[in-house]
């Protein structure tokens, strides 16, 4: 019961933290890989606290879709510069001014990182959820 309550509370925090890690990677430790792992940990916590079906419901999207989308996104971020006749994976950035004086630099590598994030989340939750499902079925 305690675990369930804590897990429910932790879900938004962990997911936010994972996105924080993803975006922060540009300047400080973090990035798509660790962000994706934290997101997967958030899902797995739900699995441990409740069951696989609940975790899947919270994930909403099948892991296979997630990892396909991530791979496609990473590939697209590399392919986009080809449209302007530049080499594969040339990076470009735009600077977004955020309210409160902060600034967020977004670029094609950010898109690429998002792809990595999705692949890692997809792979980790696919492996663990489907193995746990097998275990539940026995």
């Amino acid at each position: 019961m305690i675990l369930r309550t804590v897990a429910r509370l932790m879900l938004p925090i962990l997911l936010l933290f994972s996105i924080f890690l993803l975006l922060r990677g540009q300047d400080l430790p973090g990035g798509g890989f660790s962000g994706g792992l934290v997101a997967a940990a958030a899902i797995i916590l739900q699995m441990v606290a409740n069951d696989v079906a609940t975790a899947r419901r919270i994930l909403r999207v099948p892991p296979v879709t997630l990892l396909s989308a991530g791979l496609g996104l990473a590939l697209c971020s590399g392919l986009l510069p080809l449209l302007w006749g530049e080499p594969f994976m040339t990076s470009h950035f735009v600077c977004l001014a955020l309210p409160g004086g902060a600034a967020l630099e977004l670029g094609l590598p950010t898109l690429f990182e998002l792809g990595v994030y999705l692949v890692v989340l997809g792979v980790a939750s696919l492996a663990i959820l489907s193995l746990a499902e097998e275990g539940e079925a026995r």
Binding site: G31, V64, L71, A74, S91, P109, V119, A137
Partner: protein
């Protein structure tokens, strides 16, 4: 008003009629190409080849070079001209079939590919188009892909011509090694360079292999009769008039480079003669009209190869004339057979006879073409046959050799005469046959016009042979340097060729008289056959060797796989390390080790040992997790927060994953393996550990190039817009690596997904 019978299917189904007229645009490409070629022909024949060059992979020196000269023009006109007729013919022939888009698509692809082959000015361009003809041929042979026979025949053609294509590529690459370029004009301009080069034999062998498989020479001829499962217009176009002549085109094109050596002569003469005789004999034993046409095609292809083997100017001229004559009459006869099949539903020669009553116009078309096949004056076929005899007569060799050549040619031609009588006379004007699966209703005029045009052309060109002087002369100039020009004529006076023609017709008629016994005789099985060799290779030898290789490489034991991989790593990485003496110079550390680091290292060793000696799985997992945590600690100690963060997360998820997997297994490990295994495992493990340790220490002291670290540190913020250098490297500087890594990750996940998904779909679970 349509002629009666033309839209026989359409009258009952108006939508089909509409569909048929919608197909008219497919005629546009062949018509346009024929027109284009004809309009450019005078300029090309006047010695101004058309050229086109598109850069493709400039860094590799590859470009798409096309150039149209006399030789290319001759073939291109056949391809486009007969192609137009075949498109026209296909409209009624294929009406109502499913997959017409596929059919016409592959047909247009083939046509363009074939035009590409004969206009390629670059060996790689030639190879690409060459393979495209093979692929479109595969698609068309397998057009009725639900039928097993179609599948097997298409596969056979693809495997045989495809292996030839690969040989050809190897030959072309060798040529590039010799000349430093793939450009054909440059290579053909200096034949001497290759002649004296040790690669000559290899180039010759590989090119001949490619040409022989494509042009159905013995023993690779077996795919051609099987390819007859394709719709008949395809057989007429690809497997008789054009594609199978791509090999001949290649021989002609490269003959300035390769011909006139003993190896060329002997190979082409022997293979050509064997193919010619085999084709002629097997043709006489066929019941199926298309079988007859296929084997006579093989026989003529062999004859042309043998003529090219003679390599005299007259012989090459005869080969060119024979190529044109054969394309015209054989194309016509194939289309006639297709019309017969379409109307009566059978191609069995024993059932067919007296067809002139139901299809009088088609009978005339067949008779016109058959006269050319039999080589009767004044058809173009006669001219071709005379030219072949003349070439044999003019061969500067011993009288015995010339005599043998003459006899073989007469034998092959006599078989053609006999079968021409069957095709042009017996089935139309002979005794009535039957019963037929279908009753003829009167043949659509679109099924009659194309063979009629080809048959009539065989006569017209025979009557006015001078019309082809320029075209054949232009082609000859490309194949034989310093050729004298061509003057085709019907009447050469009373000479040996004329006498041989007379003998041929007499022998041919005699063969025709005994032919009914030949084709009805039961098939004999020879102890050796190319077909059974293919079958054995594909269905016995290949699976067996694959199975034994799999047994050898994959015995299913995880321990053996791991040992194999690790031993290879130790040998490959450790060998140079020891041999190069690098191992003796390890650099420990500039700063020396501190106590906390030593303590972590000691704990790490303990944890690793605990993993191995743990008797329960849970214990092993915990020990492994501890080892991972200690490594993380080391990263923190050496100020690598990125690594530490990732390592910690991976370790946590890894432990969960292992727990889930071990859930399926018993909590205890099994009994200890035999002592022998343990000893080997310890030795290998120690070797790997020693190697990795030494490698790290040695790498510490080796600096081959200026470090890239400075570049990354300096460029991280300005170029990658990030202060985190590690992340900038992963996501930007070396993003390509990361792309590869996530692809591997995703592939592994898909594998896992497939495994678990398949198991749960099957329902049953293995223990």
């Amino acid at each position: 008003m349509e002629p009666p019978g033309a839209l026989r299917i359409a009258q009952s189904e108006p939508t089909r009629s509409l569909w048929r007229w919608m197909l008219l645009p497919v005629l546009a490409p062949p018509l346009a190409l024929t027109g284009l070629l004809l309009s450019r022909a005078p300029a090309v024949l006047a010695g101004r080849p058309l050229g086109l060059s598109i850069a493709w992979v400039p860094s590799l020196g590859l470009s798409l070079d096309l150039s149209l000269d006399g030789l290319g023009l001759l073939f291109a006109l056949l391809v486009a001209g007969i192609g137009t007729l075949v498109f026209l013919y296909s409209m009624p022939y294929m009406a109502g079939e499913r997959g017409l888009g596929r059919y016409y698509g592959a047909l247009i692809l083939f046509m363009l590919a074939m035009l590409g082959v004969v206009t390629a000015a670059n060996l790689i361009t030639l190879f690409v188009f060459w393979e495209l003809t093979g692929i479109s041929s595969y698609l068309l042979i397998g057009f009725r892909h639900e039928e097993k026979e179609s599948q097997e025949s298409a596969l056979m053609a693809l495997l045989i011509t495809g292996s030839g294509g690969l040989a050809l590529l190897a030959g072309f690459i060798l040529l590039q090694q010799v000349y430093g370029t793939f450009d054909m004009a440059t290579i053909l301009a200096q034949p001497g360079l290759l002649r004296s080069h040790p690669y000559y034999g290899w180039v010759l062998g590989l090119v001949l292999f490619g040409a022989f498989t494509k042009s159905a020479q013995f023993p690779f001829h077996i795919w051609l009769p099987r390819a007859m499962v394709a719709p008949t217009p395809i057989s007429a176009y690809l497997h008789s008039a054009t594609m199978v002549k791509a090999g001949l085109y290649l021989l002609l094109r490269l003959s300035p480079l390769l011909a006139n050596t003993a190896a060329w002569q002997v190979t082409l003469l022997v293979v050509g003669a064997l193919t010619m005789l085999l084709g002629s004999w097997r043709a006489l034993r066929q019941r199926d009209l298309k079988g007859i046409l296929a084997y006579t095609t093989i026989s003529i292809l062999g004859m042309i190869v043998a003529l090219l083997g003679l390599a005299t100017e007259h012989a090459v001229e005869a080969a060119l004339v024979l190529i044109v004559a054969h394309a015209l009459y054989k194309g016509a006869l194939f289309l006639v057979v297709g019309a017969i099949d379409h109307e009566t539903g059978t191609r069995d020669v024993a059932l067919l006879g007296g067809l002139r009553r139901d299809m009088p116009v088609l009978a005339v078309a067949a008779l016109l073409a058959a006269c050319s096949m039999a080589g009767l004056p004044p058809t173009f076929g006669f001219l071709a046959k005379e030219a072949a005899y003349g070439a044999a007569e003019g061969w500067r060799a011993a009288a015995l050799q010339v005599g043998v050549a003459g006899v073989l040619l007469v034998a092959a031609n006599a078989s053609n005469v006999a079968l021409a009588v069957v095709l042009g006379y017996r089935i139309f004007f002979g005794a009535a046959g039957g019963p037929w699966p279908r009753k003829p209703h009167g043949v659509s005029w679109l099924l009659i016009v194309p063979p009629g045009v080809l048959g009539a052309a065989s006569w017209l060109l025979g009557l006015v042979p001078g019309a082809l002087d320029g075209l054949v002369g232009g082609a000859l100039a490309a194949a034989v340097p310093r050729s004298q020009g061509v003057h085709l004529q019907m009447w050469h006076g009373f000479n040996w060729p004329l006498a041989l023609s007379a003998v041929t017709i007499a022998v041919g008629y005699a063969l025709y008289r005994i032919w009914p016994r030949l084709f009805r005789a039961p098939a004999r099985r020879f102890p050796l056959s190319a077909f059974r060799a293919y079958d054995w290779l594909l269905h016995t030898a290949l699976p067996r060797s694959a199975a034994s290789l799999a047994r050898l490489a994959q015995d299913g034991s995880l321990r053996v796989y791991l040992l194999a991989m690790l031993v290879v790593v130790v040998l490959i990485a450790g060998g140079p390390l020891v041999a190069g003496g690098l191992w003796s110079n390890p650099v420990l550390s500039q700063e020396g080790l501190s106590w906390p680091e030593l303590a972590i290292a000691g704990l790490l060793v303990t944890a690793a040992l605990a993993v191995v000696v743990a008797r329960t799985r849970l214990g092993a997992i915990i020990a492994l997790g501890a080892a991972g945590a200690l490594v993380t600690l080391l990263y923190v100690r050496f100020s690598a927060p990125d690594l530490a963060l990732t390592q910690l997360l991976v370790e946590s998820l890894g432990v969960i994953l292992l727990l889930l997997v071990f859930h399926f297994l018993s909590p205890q490990f099994g009994p200890w393996p035999p002592k022998r295994h343990v000893a080997v495992d310890i030795a290998v493990a120690a070797a790997v550990g020693l190697l990795m340790g030494t490698l790290v220490l040695v790498a510490n002291g080796v600096q081959l190039a200026p470090s890239v670290a400075e570049y990354y540190l300096a460029q991280s913020l300005p170029s990658a817009h990030g202060r985190n250098v590690v992340n900038a490297i992963v996501a930007d500087f070396r993003g390509f690596d990361t792309m590869g890594e996530i692809t591997v990750l995703a592939t592994a996940a898909f594998g896992l997904y497939a495994l678990l998904e398949l198991r749960s779909k099957k329902g049953g679970r293995r223990q």
